[in-house]
Amino acid sequence: MEALIKILEELHPDVDFRNEKALIDDKILDSFDIISLITEINEEYGVRIPVDEIVPENFNSAEAIYKLIQKLQDEE
């Protein structure tokens, strides 16, 4: 989880990613961020996020993103 927070903070150092729950709904992340995030997650965790998991629900909070990573790691 810490590594993920670090990735997110590099994108937006001014956002409190531990508590923010509406990263998509409040337009904090944009399409550039999503693409960088998917690449960085792949490099850090070695998981490839399948395209049908790239939906707003999975990216609204650090927790949701982390849950997705864990789920994908378990599937491997």
Binding site: P13, I24, S31, P50, V51, D52, V55
Partner: protein
């Protein structure tokens, strides 16, 4: 048919042909040609009654079909529209207002509050109010009859190297010339259904706005959020039966790169035009494989020559090491390649891409100096006045006689479909208290903007400052503090050295990383 002088003739002609067909739409609502016609004429009448004639009128609205109607309304009034967007930082909008001194701004409910942030004292009109004006046929006819085809219709602002954006002024004639040639190349007709991706405040949106009126086609504005969620995006294309798109390359590679085609394919898409940057071949091949019968068109051109100037229709197989050419100029446009001595480049040799033709815009707004630097007398002609536009791009002809783009001459880069002067980022950062020097380089391998600075500000403050002052696509991805800037012998910041250092460190880090993993 009599010759066309005014861009509005497209709308005037088509409204009686298919008045009830949807012209412009978004995910929720559509406007018929009749509605577009009536609303635009209402706005034109209103502006005329308020005494705005032959003036810049700022359109500051959220991306919506109404915004396009407002543009057309401004042209009906004999004025020229200047689109501004809430995505632009306050500072940039202030510079634009400073350059324009506009006396009228058209807003919607979502932007009227934002306008208070600027020191603007002129008239503010709400779209929903002014659209209720009863059109005055004789007044509009009089404006129309007086207009000539070299009168301006819009000013769009592009990045400027000194940090001050440049307002490119285009007239009826250059836009008509562009739309005619562009439509011919893409094969636009009344069955065309556009899916618009590019912002309405850049000239790229001309591709959807005017051919839709010329042919009685339909243009959907695709919600911006969909470009984050590619499966939903393709579902939208299918739902609206979108068959023609003119997108920036990153929007296309997002779909192919994330593996969308394994799940879903665009079912109606038959014409795909792209531009703004080089299409990575691997991604292009994925598109071609997914849509083998579609027509793919590479477009190239600067805002200063009204949208696009060159095209290449993909007509052969490409392999991963090839580059897609930018092909040849549109009809009624000519390209000359000039070497460093202003002579025509030798066959196969690189030269600066220079453009000749009616598609040249009028130049930069209230900036004769910067206009005369790039809109210059054709150096190959010493017999009579003839302007060319120097793009600053370097190109060459390949062995097939097709034009190929090579690089930028200066520090202007293309990133995420936007044209960025690195100097503008530096100028913005340089205005921060405590910053001594700022220098940007572009890592063209990993597509990252890297900012180096000297001074006593923490990195996080610099990033926050950048976010406040710059549009999102211009915010540096990597920020590094240096103790001192490396300088060249004549005292300029040594960009080449910085870039070399950055790229070497990057390479070194990758190497070390792989060693660690193996051990």
């Amino acid at each position: 048919m009599s010759r066309q002088i005014n861009i509005l003739e497209y709308l005037e002609n088509i409204v009686s042909v298919c008045p009830d067909k949807i012209c412009y739409a978004n995910e929720k609502e559509g406007y018929t040609f009749r509605q577009v016609y009536d609303c635009a004429r209402a706005i034109g009448t209103f502006l005329y009654y308020r005494g705005h004639y032959k003036k810049p009128v700022v359109v500051f609205m959220k991306k919506h079909p109404k915004e396009i109607i407002a543009f057309l309304g401004v042209v009906y009034a004999g004025d020229y529209y200047v689109p501004i967007d809430e995505e632009m930082p306050v500072h940039r909008i202030e510079l634009i207002f400073g350059n324009l001194s506009p006396e009228a701004v058209i807003c919607d409910e979502t932007t009227v509050g934002l306008l208070k942030k600027f020191n603007y004292k002129g008239n503010v009109y709400l779209y929903d109010d002014i659209v209720k004006t009863a059109p005055d046929d004789s007044a509009l006819r009089e404006i129309f009859d007086k207009a000539i085809d070299t009168d301006p219709i819009y000013v769009v602002f592009t990045s400027g190297s000194t940090g001050v954006p440049k307002g490119v002024v285009a007239c009826h004639r250059s836009v008509i010339d562009y739309i005619e040639s562009f439509s011919e190349v893409l094969g636009i007709n009344s069955g065309t259904v556009f899916g618009n991706q590019t912002p309405l405040y850049v000239d790229a949106s001309l591709k959807e706005i005017y051919p839709t009126l010329k042919f009685g086609a339909t243009a959907y504005i695709i919600p911006k959020e969909l470009f984050m969620f590619p499966v939903k995006l393709v579902e939208f294309l299918n739902e609206k039966k979108i068959n023609t798109i003119c997108w920036v390359v990153p929007a296309l590679t997002m779909i192919s790169g994330l593996g969308v085609f394994d799940k879903i394919k665009p079912e109606y898409l038959h014409t795909i035009a792209f531009g703004s940057e080089v299409f990575p071949m691997k991604q292009f091949l994925l598109w071609r494989k997914a849509l083998p019968n579609a027509k793919f068109i590479n477009l190239y051109g600067p805002t200063e020559a009204t949208g696009m100037s060159c095209y290449y229709v993909v007509d052969r197989e490409f392999t991963e090491n090839d580059v897609i050419p930018i092909g040849r100029p549109f009809r009624n446009t000519d390209i000359i390649l000039l070497d460093e001595e202003n002579k025509p480049a030798a066959p196969g040799e690189p030269g600066e891409i220079c453009i000749r033709g009616t598609s040249l815009t009028l130049g930069y707004y209230r900036d004769f100096e910067r206009t005369s630097e790039v809109f210059v007398q054709n150096p190959l002609n010493d017999l009579y006045p003839e302007l060319i536009y120097r793009t600053g791009d370097i190109g060459k002809y390949n062995e097939r006689g097709e034009l190929v783009f090579l690089s930028r001459k200066d520090y202007q880069i293309k990133h995420m479909g936007h044209r960025i002067e690195l100097g503008e980022i530096e100028a913005a950062i340089g205005r921060m208290d405590g910053i001594i020097n700022a220098c940007c380089i572009f890592d063209d391998v990993n597509k990252k903007i890297v900012l180096y600075y000297t001074g006593d500000c923490p990195k996080t403050d610099v990033i926050s400052f950048a976010k406040e002052k710059l549009p999102r696509y211009m915010i540096p991805h990597v920020v590094e503090k240096l103790d001192a800037m490396p300088l060249t012998t004549n005292g300029k910041i040594n960009r080449l050295l910085l870039k070399e250092k950055y790229m070497n460190e990057k390479k070194g880090a990758e190497k070390n990383g792989s060693i660690n993993k193996n051990s």
